[in-house]
Symmetry: C2
Subunit: 182 residues, 2 copies
Amino acid sequence: MANTKKMDYVLLGLLSHEPMTGYEMKKRLDTTLRFFWGGSYGSIYPTLNQLEKEGKVTKEDTSSNGREKLSYSITDCGKDALIEWLAKPVEKDELRYETLLKLFFGNETGMEGAMEHIERFEEKCKDELVVLNMFAENLGQYLEDDTHKHYYLTVKFGIKTYEAYLEWCREAKEQIKEWTKK
Amino acid sequence: MANTKKMDYVLLGLLSHEPMTGYEMKKRLDTTLRFFWGGSYGSIYPTLNQLEKEGKVTKEDTSSNGREKLSYSITDCGKDALIEWLAKPVEKDELRYETLLKLFFGNETGMEGAMEHIERFEEKCKDELVVLNMFAENLGQYLEDDTHKHYYLTVKFGIKTYEAYLEWCREAKEQIKEWTKK
DNA sequence: TTTATCATATATCGGTTTGATATATTTGTC
DNA sequence: GACAAATATATCAAACCGATATATGATAAA
């Protein structure tokens, strides 16, 4: 079967925006993409080497003053592979929410435990919403650019979902209070 | 550091409800838990063997008519480990949405590509919502039971989020139409 | 001025998990 | 009776994460 490795396309996608280093890619994954995708050094650097061997990216040594720095760029071949992947239907959208796992098995620790997890989750959601709203505001100025349009849509997705999470938190807390007072 | 392997606690959690086989656990992961957690045979069976060696579960051969069948039960030691984990704060809640990834890098394929992915996503969300609403309706009858209360809260979470996804789909499609007609 | 800390930058390793596959029996259907 | 589907256990390569090692440059505090 064809290449199904996701990290390949994540890195090609980032390089389709602009050339950058592995370190910068990690930063993007930890900031811009963090709401819907992750990635570790342990998969970034080996993948970069593999993509170079396949001719999908080129490596350029842009070190200065002894500070090692390898800048990667996407090739035509790499762009073709990216476009081919983008056109294919999505294989899997996946949630891995430990909070829900602990809530689901929470009958072992009682409703107080559930309540605590919900409250911690609520706080985290509020923080994320602040960040996402800032992103949306900043992006509003650059919406003539196509890349930013796509970015904007994903940020909007994040805002919608975190708002829904907060709504659920309020309702779940209310529900638990009702259950426990009886 | 202590054990951070998630599958241990997923299986212990399932066994805290009732004894079952590895095959049944996989089915639970594919139905009840599928909205917030996954799991494959490749991690279920080895983990089960490891948990038995650690004394956290016991294995009983309940084969009949030559059909192999190994039923697992949780021990007191296993229950302690589960309760300890449940009390700890959540380490990570994670989304891995390929749809958003393809949307984010979609400037390579234009807005038509984005539109297609959103529409496919929308259909999938509608289907999931039907299933979740059925779950919620069925669960309504058993809400005296604590295990079902916790289950109910996670289903409600799913419903809230999928409704938010659908709302986002409508708005994103509207937004794209506005952008492209200009 | 020296020292500590943080940011930049590449790279690897062990352990966890996925996805696919192999094997074998029973049950249900045409 | 033949065939497909469900039940059931198990393994393997490949993918991926989290932590760590290493080293330099910049910045701030002492």
